[in-house]
Each structure stands twice: as structure tokens, then as C-alpha cells.
């Protein structure tokens, strides 16, 4: 089943002009329009995500991959394109404020790269997750405590730290709380933006393994955005390679890694230390 069908997704920062798309992209070697100065974060992005599948988006800084993630999690307004989303049987980009809130509460879980975008550090870890449950209509205190405890166990956050302020948590724990929050309402899509950035190497592996376990068990459709090829290789079934706002290559992850076709992908793969 197709969960998400993205076509021609485009984000332009600035006024934009009729030449923006023709004058930017990997062939032009830039993402800033020389005519009007607008920055084309991404353009003509199209892909599908199926249920139970992990789609990786890989590319260097400024390739537009995070913009794509943020538009899909409704944290960023798109300039153009359409995103058919199965859960609402319609275009994600045509939704009004109320629908967007509903989507964010129930259907799309986002794990942000920067912890402050995803969690209120003054709240307790449990409070951050409870907030998500409350906005989805949960009211019974006992039920909420039980569900938060269950989510902490699933994401391997010590439950005896549930009531401690989130800023006392380690980076790895904060990332786990974000994942707990993202999956709290059984969403049909989870978006992970750089899931291991800023984490200790020893913690990275555990977070990836924990997420993969949950993803497979629940059959979650997932988009993982990362500049780290190792993360993409270990998590993603299929992969898109982005450069200067455009998709330059796509395919089965092992195929992209071992038989890269595009010049940029070959350079990327050959640059891994």
C-alpha cells in the first residue's frame, strides 16, 4: 500500500522568478537563482513511500533533504507540488490549519535533528510524550502514564527518569524520547532527520537498532534523512540521492551503495572514510 505519493515537490526561499528552476540544480552547479537571488531548496522532487518501508534520503549539507523532510512533517510550507497522503485521502499541501494539526497529532511522527525543535527541555521526558497523547485526545491520567511508560520501555529510556526534566537527559536519551513521542499515536509515517547526528558513536548504534526493531515490528513507513551513508545503509530499503535540490539517483539501497550510477553518487560513495 502506498502511504505517500510525492510529486514535483518544490521549495523556493525568496520571491522566485520564471527562470529559478532552469538556472539551478546539479547541472548548473548552484541552488541560488542568478536572476532573482532566490534559493531553490528543492525542486521537482517525486517519490512514493510504501507501508512498512524505510526510504533513505542522502546528500550533503544544502542538498535539500531536510527541506523535503520538514515539508512532509508539515513544519515547512511548500512552494509547489503535491503530496498525496493515504491517511487523509488527499493532498497534504492543500490542508488547512486544523487538518495539519490533526495530521501532526495522529498521522506523522517527526524526529528532529535539533532536540529543541522536537522537545520542550523544561518539561519532564514523560511530559513531552504525554503532551503528544493529550493533543490526540487522551484524558485519563492513569492511561497516559501507562502509555508513556510503555513507550519509554519500547525506546529503552529508563522509566525511573520519566519525571525528570528533559534537559537532565543525555543526548541519546533525548533522541529516544523524541522517537517515543513520534510513535506515540501509532502514526502511518515517521520522518527521521539526521537520527544519529550529535550522538556518541556508541549510542548511535543502539538508537538505530532500537528504531529498526520498532519500525519492523509496527510496519511503519519511514523516511530517514541523513548525510551519513552508514546510517542509510543500515536502515533504508530504498534510497534517494539529492544534490543541489534535485534527486540525482534513486534505487535499492545496496544497489545505490555498490553500483552507483550517477557521477555525484560515485564521488559520494568513494569519499567515505
Amino acid at each position: 500500500m502506498t502511504v505517500l505519493d510525492v510529486s514535483n515537490l518544490t521549495k523556493i526561499y525568496g520571491e522566485g522568478c520564471p527562470d529559478c528552476l532552469d538556472l539551478t540544480g546539479p547541472e548548473m552547479g548552484r541552488n541560488q537563482c542568478p536572476e532573482c537571488g532566490s534559493v531553490v531548496a528543492c525542486a521537482d522532487v517525486d517519490f512514493e513511500v510504501f507501508q512498512g518501508e524505510v526510504l533513505g534520503i542522502v546528500g550533503e549539507s544544502g542538498s535539500g533533504k531536510s527541506s523535503v523532510a520538514e515539508m512532509l512533517s508539515l513544519d515547512l510550507e511548500a512552494t509547489g507540488g503535491s503530496v498525496d497522503y493515504h491517511a487523509i485521502d488527499g493532498d497534504l499541501l492543500e490542508t488547512d490549519y486544523q487538518q495539519r494539526r490533526e495530521l501532526q497529532d495522529f498521522h506523522v511522527g517527526m524526529v528532529h535533528q535539533h532536540v529543541r525543535d522536537g522537545l520542550n527541555l523544561d518539561f519532564s521526558g514523560g511530559g513531552n510524550v504525554a503532551e503528544k497523547l493529550l493533543s490526540a485526545g487522551w484524558r485519563d491520567y492513569g492511561d497516559i502514564r501507562d502509555r508513556v511508560r510503555e513507550l519509554f520501555e519500547d525506546t529503552e529510556v529508563p522509566t525511573d527518569r520519566m519525571d525528570d526534566a528533559t534537559d537532565t537527559y543525555s543526548g541519546g536519551m533525548q533522541r529516544r524520547v523524541q522517537i517515543a513521542k513520534a510513535i506515540a499515536n501509532d502514526p502511518s509515517l515517521v520522518v527521521l532527520d539526521e537520527p544519529t547526528t550529535g550522538l556518541d558513536v556508541s549510542v548511535q548504534a543502539r538508537v538505530l537498532d532500537m528504531f529498526r526493531e520498532i519500525q519492523r515490528e509496527q510496519g511503519l513507513a519511514t523516511i530517514v534523512v541523513s548525510h551519513d551513508l552508514g546510517v542509510i545503509r543500515l536502515l533504508a530499503d530504498r534510497t534517494l540521492v539529492m544534490r543541489q535540490g534535485r534527486i540525482v539517483e534513486r534505487g535499492l539501497t545496496d544497489r545505490v551503495m555498490e553500483d552507483p550510477h550517477h557521477e555525484y553518487t560515485q564521488t559520494l560513495i568513494n569519499s567515505v572514510i
Binding site: 543500515l234 544497489r255 555498490e258
Partner: protein, 245 residues
Amino acid sequence: MSDILTIDGLTKRFEMHVIDGREVAGLEDVTFDVRDGEFLAVVGESGSGKSSLLKCIHRTYEPTSGTVEYRKGEQTVDLATCDERTVLALRGAEIGYASQFLHEIPRVPAVDVVARPLREQGKSPETAREIARDLLETLQLPEELFEAYPATFSGGERQRVNLARAIAPRPRLLLLDEPTSALDPETREHALDLLESYLDSGTTVVGVFHNRDVVERIADRVVEMDDARVQRVLDGSAYREEVTA
């Protein structure tokens, strides 16, 4: 006996943009069949195209031309051109592959690495781990390593984990790339015994082997490769006669 794979005109060329755009031949016009339930050994010098062949069947390499027809009952799928969803579904359920190296998330215990594909098939964590332990035991991985991380293992220990993971889900078609190269002779024997028991239960194996003893012992047929091409396809008995002559 029917054929599980019909490979016809399979060709793979790599365009190396990072080396002046030169083209490198991986496979040239490879044609042969794989029979249901057989053990087919692929032999040849390093660089002759053996691994490329396995990777093209698995779609880790995208063939440049030719077909790889995979047959199950009345259904036929061309693995060279079918959509990616079909490839992923087949890999999960029917086609297993063990590369020369173990790629896994670090800091996952060996037994869980082997249990994971079983869990993805819907087995309970307990059952999956039990099967995984049995396999690792049969492959003589010391028990104290079951809960340890494979990244710290020797080449041979890691290879046992890799092999156990590939065969655990009992695929219909098993692609093995030098699965026993780092094993000592005794462990290799155990690995081959295990593979033979899988063959008895209907698994078809296409395996790349350097070690002649392995090929002599277990192969029903042998594909000889050289210079990206198949030179000959021999019956196991003919191969054995030639080797002993």
C-alpha cells in the same frame, strides 16, 4: 527437474565517472540455468566476475542487459528488470544472500543478528533466538560469543554469523559469496553439513567458492568463469574427474 533461474545474455558494465568515465566489464553475455534444489558452484580466478554474477541475480548490481528469470510454480519474475518492491518482497521471503562481509548495526549481539530475519518473518523473539542459537551452535561459534558483538569477532567467527543469518529464514534460493573462506577445515565441514541439510529440504544454492575441496564435495554442477564470461558448465561428477585426473 525444473529450473528455478534462467539467466540469459546477462551483461553488466560499470561506467566509472570518477575514473575518466571509462567502462569496466563485470559480466559479458552470461547464459545458464539453475535447477530447482541443486547446489551450483561458481568457480574462477579473482576478478573473473563470480561476485558480479551473484550481485546481478540479487539486484545489488543493476544488470546492463539480459534477463534473470526466477520461477516459482507458474509464476516468472525477471529479477533484472522487475520493480524494486518485488525485489524487496522476494529478498524478505524467498531469496537469501550472504556477502563476503557482514554488514550490521554495531553493538547488536550475534544471536540477534541471526534472529532478525526470522523476526521479520513473523516468528516470536523467543523462537527466533532459539533457532539462531541452534544454528550458531551447529556452526561451532563458541557459546560465550552468542551475546557478544560481531564487530569484535575474528574473520571466521564473523563469517559464521553471516552464514547463519543468511540461511536462518530457509530461503528457496540462497546466494553465497565465499561463505566458508575464513573457516578452518573442521568448521568448514560443519558448515557444509548444514548446507547439505538445507539442500535436502529444498533450498537451491548458487555459491561462489575458491576452495576446490568444497566444490568437489558438495556441487551438483559447476559454472566456470573467466574474464567476465561463463567458460563452461560442468556436472559435478565431470568436474571431480577432471580435478582428480
